[in-house]
């Protein structure tokens, strides 16, 4: 383990300063805005869903914003990511427009998957995001396969797989880590350990304290970062990505994080304790990062409200776009399945 104590404040302070120095103030602010975009987008979705205005289901990313933003900020534009049934944070962080995202959630033909994906499958390969895979653990080998393509063609690109703690109990996780390790693939496995697989606590389904420790079974490099700390996530991801890009092999990077919302739909989190929720709320990634940026004079408190308002307007605009977009036609069902033939009827 690179950092033996992930909560060591001294180490973190060093990392924060180092990263800020490396990325510069503008990028630091962009990352802040992205986190707010994810938070407010998800909060709006919740309302739209509860009001019955949005079809489908929701799996929200509230509380985990530092993971997607920190990790995706460490990538090049032509690097690729693979996501899960909880994909909105990754989509926004990788640069899928809010308009196309909202339209997809509304099942419109202007959506990033033309309305064929929906809330659990958003993505756009042209922006480097595989349509999200909602089979737990299903994206892990695919991400490794994208990395294999880069390796075979000797392209300096990296692939990144996001998955949760639950997925680390799936066979695909173990099979893929083994193969990525023996073939030295340029892939980073990012386990967002939010401590619950739906309603089931990780304590109930695994004995290891750190999922990162599972890497040692495959002689793979591993690391743990504070998933509530965007700069810490950035730092660890950047390190892993650089190693992968320079033929140094894969990393299993565990991000310790928490869902400050339900698993899906109307889930009221009755399986979490009040103390636990309070503990993690105190580590709200947006508040932590905001305090840091203010302390470093990168951000002024007056600016925060302005950013939030701007983001609200962006969401309003996306919503308007989605609502005014055309519905797909029933006959569109038959489009987009095969490249070289019509669907037999």
């Amino acid at each position: 383990m690179k950092k033996s104590e992930i909560d060591s404040e001294k180490i973190k302070e060093d990392i924060h300063k180092k990263v800020l120095n490396e990325i510069g103030e503008q990028k630091a602010l962009e990352m802040f805005q992205k986190m707010i975009e994810i938070r407010q987008f998800e909060e709006r979705l919740k309302l739209l869903f509860l009001e019955g205005k949005m079809p489908g289901t929701i799996h929200q990313y509230i509380g985990m914003e530092a993971c997607a933003v920190g990790a995706c900020s460490a990538l090049n534009d032509d690097d690729v990511i693979a996501s899960t049934h909880r994909p909105n944070g990754h989509a926004i962080a990788k640069g899928i427009s809010m308009d196309e995202l909202m339209a997809e959630l509304y099942g419109k033909s202007t959506g990033c998957c033309k309305g064929k994906g929906g809330a659990m499958h958003v993505g756009d390969i042209n922006k480097g995001m595989l349509p999200a895979i909602a089979i737990v653990g299903g994206n892990i080998p695919i991400a490794a396969g994208m990395a294999l393509a880069f390796q075979l063609r000797k392209e300096p690109r990296v692939s990144l797989s996001f998955f949760g703690d639950g997925a680390s109990n799936e066979g695909t996780f173990h099979e893929t880590l083994n193969m990525a390790s023996i073939w030295n693939l340029p892939v980073v496995f990012i386990c967002e350990n939010n401590h619950y697989g739906a309603s089931t606590s990780v304590k109930k389904v695994m004995k290891v304290e750190n999922i990162a420790d599972r890497a040692c079974a495959y002689l793979m490099r591993s690391d743990i970062a504070d998933g509530m700390d965007v700069l810490d996530v950035y730092y660890s991801t950047k390190e892993a990505v650089d190693i992968a890009r320079n033929n140094g092999g894969p990393t299993l990077l565990e991000l310790k994080t928490f869902r400050l919302c339900g698993h899906s739909r109307r889930d009221p989190n009755n399986y979490m304790t009040k103390e636990e929720i309070e503990y993690w709320k105190a580590k709200d990634p947006i508040n932590l990062y905001q305090d840091f940026l203010i302390q470093e004079n990168v951000l002024k408190i007056e600016q925060v409200e302005k950013i939030k308002e701007m983001v609200e307007e962006k969401i309003d605009k996306a919503l308007e776009f989605a609502e005014n977009s055309p519905e797909p036609k029933p006959e569109d069902i038959y489009e987009d399945l095969y490249v070289t033939m019509e669907v037999p009827r």
Binding site: I140, P141, L148, E175, W183, D336
Partner: protein, 336 residues
């Protein structure tokens, strides 16, 4: 030159790998020097010519099918295989939920040009190395499914599959490979052909009439196609003139070829090595019913394996697989 199916498949892979540097193979025991070239010798020796593109995997079917899927999305053309078709079930999530659906879920923004090869057929190995799982995958939109019964078709269909932009499952029969040396099977049939020394493909979605006839249409793939030809020879002596259709591609089915034949004969027999329940016969038979019921002189007959797993005991096994005699008897009864 005259090649067996195993040799024809090997040549197709070799030729395509020469032609396109994006083509690569992934599987278990496929390129180990001193090994077997996969369970049935198809990739034997290819590692000498393509060291980096013949990738031996751990025994992790779901994992490496997923890896192939990702590579395909990024522009490679992987050929993955399982040693026995039964193991497709270990990879089934990737095949059914990812490989078959990702293009659709993406709204047509990506493609998954992957070839998946699977040996099928009952060969004295009990229930788990014997199944013909074509019907399972026939019910999964997004896949194309081919089943070559001759070396000529094996070469042409595999090349077509490799060049195809959609995922293609290739079912091959263990008793038709013509594998040599220590990997030789007992009870094999000769499916070898003269392979022309030219760049040809057999188009996906095109069936072929293996034997022309006017009295009854027999539809069968792989080993059952060969058994049907044997039965047709026996029936010819009785004055019954069978037309034997080899669909070659199970999806998309060459339904026009089948319908034309049935319009002429008015009688249909569908033979398959998988259980009758939910089988290929059900699909093909209903398509005939839906389209040209009025042309049928007699009810459609399905000759299939029993609705049980494959038994081991040689006596039971022989009775499990539809034999030429069984096909002969069923068809003869149509004319009594």
């Amino acid at each position: 030159m005259k090649l067996s199916i195993a040799e024809a498949l090997r040549k197709a892979i070799y030729d395509e790998m020469q032609r396109d540097s994006n083509v690569f193979c992934m599987g278990e025991d496929i390129g180990i020097p001193g090994g077997y070239g996969g369970a049935f010798t198809v990739t034997l020796g290819l590692e000498k010519d393509f060291r980096d593109r013949i990738i031996d995997t751990p025994i992790s079917e779901e994992g490496f099918f997923g890896i192939a899927c990702g590579a395909a999305i990024m522009g490679m053309r992987p050929i993955v295989d399982v040693q026995y078709g039964d193991f497709l079930m270990s990879a089934a999530d990737q095949i059914v939920n990812e490989i078959a659906k990702l293009r659709y879920m993406s709204g047509g923004k990506l493609k998954v040009p992957i070839v998946m090869r699977a040996p099928v057929g009952v060969t004295g190995r009990g229930a788990q190395h014997a199944q013909s799982l074509e019907p399972f995958f026939l019910s999964c939109p997004g896949l194309k499914i081919v089943a070559p019964a001759t070396a000529y078709d094996a070469y042409g269909l595999l090349k077509a599959a490799i060049r195809d932009d959609d995922p293609v499952l290739v079912f091959e029969h263990k008793l038709l490979y013509g594998s040599k040396g220590p990997r030789q099977e007992s009870g094999v049939l000769d499916a070898s052909n003269e392979i022309p020394d030219e760049d040809y493909i057999v188009p996906i979605g095109k069936g072929i009439i293996r034997r022309k006839g006017k009295d009854v249409t027999i539809i069968a793939s792989l080993l059952m196609m060969h058994f049907s030809l044997m039965a047709a020879d026996m029936l010819a002596k009785e004055g019954i003139d069978c037309e034997v259709i080899d669909p070659r591609t199970l999806w998309p089915l060459d339904i026009d070829l089948i319908l034309e034949s049935v319009k002429k004969t008015g009688r249909v027999v569908i033979v398959e090595e998988s259980p009758k329940q939910g089988g290929i016969g059900a699909e093909i038979g209903m398509q005939i019913n839906e389209n040209i019921l009025d042309y049928l002189i007699s009810p459609i007959i399905r000759i299939a394996a029993p609705n049980t797993p494959v038994p081991f005991a040689p006596k039971m096994e022989k009775s499990y697989v539809p034999q030429p005699e069984k096909i002969y008897n069923s068809i003869k009864s149509l004319f009594q």
